[in-house]
Subunit: 336 residues, 2 copies
DNA sequence: GGATTTTGTGCAAACGTTTGTATTTTTGCG
DNA sequence: CGCAAAAATACAAACGTTTGCACAAAATCC
């Protein structure tokens, strides 16, 4: 492997000048810089990152810690983050917490051991606060949280506009003439679900409808619980449901089918997250899309700007987008 | 940050002994090893990976290069690989080729620059051979290919049992009484699709049916082309289709619905890949499942065993599995 | 044209770990 | 008890890069 010393020797200069030339220091003459670059190219030089990292005390890499990388949402975030980090010469080291605090801590230690320049993290569900993160993150690394965030931790937080999204999803149903709209809510231990619930409620109020706790169903994020909730919603006179998740919306569809109601003519449904399957099923499912790829990009950008001295990035909102499909599109729009 | 010298000083010994103690060398007394471990624990020591990497000339990390990490298949492979690599103290650096040779080369150079111990790769589609990989991979790194492999490259290759899978998928349709079974084939430039086609043909022959090129449709991997192929298949008298992809199978379903045929009573379908949506739609779609997570695990294991001197890993097959769902399950099984 | 600033390079140390070789300590044995 | 062998530790160099400081050469000023 060729080193800067090899280049220096060939050109009759010293390694320090070569180093400066390659790193674009203004303290080297243009002619020598060019000579160095040519020689580096010619010899096929590639910087030894380990040596560089050791000397500088940090590595040109950021760690991304997610519960599971094979979840569509997270893999898209990672994809987005990688695309901008790569452009700026940073590698991406990925870690999975498997929703366990223990593994999360292990990952943070590993990243600290590698002296990464930054950590992008969406924490494991069981954790109640960010203490274990604060205790185990490299104090010199930039911390960026996304999606699942603790407001007591320092640094940028990238979140979806959950409130606004749920608000618009609900309003969309009202504007399509549905008159009694239930809500499938998630776990209120999660900030995102709390905000979606609030958005749903506010939309009802703003459109002159009332909030009825009878038709709000909590702790439901999978198909089966969605099905149970859907049956109750129908029983209690709903003609539509806004669901804070797509899987539970799927369960609602099961219940609606079982009841013999036609979608969307007799029953409307809007889900959340725009999972891939929503666009492929029949009827296709309207959904409030999150934009995980964009979220990843913003998280990476937040890291990059935080690097600059004096810069401070706070909370960054990523818009959600209503994807209107069959499950909420009545043939005859029933706006009053 | 605490170093091995700090530990050494506290204990009145030298850094070399501390290093050996921590790395489990047999050349250090048990009592001192324990003392070192206690002190390391107490001071909160963590090895500086950059220094270690520099000295050893390689880093405890492997790079994974995939077209896109947000594709379900690849993110599952990565998840599987990470799970075993993590256990053995290796970090995972991920890179996306975006299906471009140029980006793939860039990724390989970056990994070489980092002196990774291994590279797990599934190559970009446009490449016709592995030359650019061979030229740009770190000669000291272990190369492991998965899913999309070049047989002219050295090192382990992890592939799905495509032939066997297609064979069984087709046989399953025959055993369910379908009598004229079409095939939606992919691009024959890809080894995987070639093998699936062969498996389909052989199953027909082995079951005493004949292969009819009229009902084999090539270059179809998306919903729209599947739809076109499905229409033709129906026109040409098929009562079932084995599709080498799930998306094209989806298109076939569209065509079958349009023709007013009932699934599975009048028309049977089996797809391939077991994409998430196959289990969520109505009717649910039978599919030959690949096991990407397992493939990732095996790729990582192949890397680990290749590390041992003298060990040689060749081609590793990952079984496929027929997931029988509604689209191919007739109420009355029509075995002759 | 001499003094002073600017510009470009060289020198040398440092980052923290690993490891071949040398040295010391301990053990075993007659 | 003495000596050789074995075990444990110390010494020192090396990995390749970066960077503060010193220094020389060129440019600028009065």
């Amino acid at each position: 492997m060729v080193t800067i010393s090899d280049i220096a020797k060939k050109l009759g200069i010293t390694p320090s000048t070569v180093s400066r030339a390659l790193s674009g220091s203004p303290r080297v003459k243009n002619s020598t810089r060019e000579a160095v670059e040519r020689m580096a190219e010619q010899l096929g030089y590639e910087r030894n990152e380990a040596a560089s990292s050791l000397r500088r005390g940090k590595i040109n890499a950021v760690g991304i810690v997610v519960p599971r990388i094979n979840r569509a949402f997270f893999s898209n975030v990672i994809g987005g983050a990688e695309s901008v980090l790569d452009e700026h010469g940073y590698s991406v080291i990925i870690c999975q917490s498997h929703e366990k605090i223990e593994d999360e801590v292990k990952a943070l230690k590993m990243l600290r051991s590698n002296r990464v320049a930054g950590v992008l993290i969406s924490h494991a569900i069981p954790s109640e606060n960010g203490n274990h993160i604060l205790e185990n993150i490299d104090p010199n690394a930039v911390l960026v949280q996304f999606d699942r965030v603790f407001s007591d931790l320092p640094g940028p937080r990238i979140v979806s506009e959950n409130y606004k999204g749920a608000y618009e999803g609900t309003r969309h149903l009202i504007e399509n003439g549905y008159r009694r709209i239930g809500n499938i809510a998630g776990y209120l231990s999660s900030e995102a679900y709390v905000q979606r619930l609030q958005g749903y409620k506010q939309a009802l109020l703003d459109m002159g409808m009332e909030v009825d706790e009878e038709i709000i169903f909590y702790d439901s994020i999978v198909r089966e619980t969605g099905y149970q909730a859907g049956k109750l919603a129908i029983e209690r006179g709903c003609d539509a449901v806004y669901s804070a998740g797509d899987y539970s919306a799927l369960g609602v569809i099961d219940a609606v089918r079982e009841a013999g109601l036609r979608i969307p003519d007799e029953f409307g449904i809007v889900g959340t997250a725009n999972e891939q399957f929503t666009g492929l099923m029949t009827p296709s499912l309207s959904s409030m899309a999150q934009h995980p790829y964009e979220m990843g990009r913003r998280a990476a950008q937040a890291f990059l700007t935080s690097l600059k001295p004096g810069a401070h990035v706070g909370e960054v909102s990523v818009p959600m987008e209503l994807i209107i499909r069959e499950s909420s599109s009545r043939n005859h729009i029933g706006i009053l």
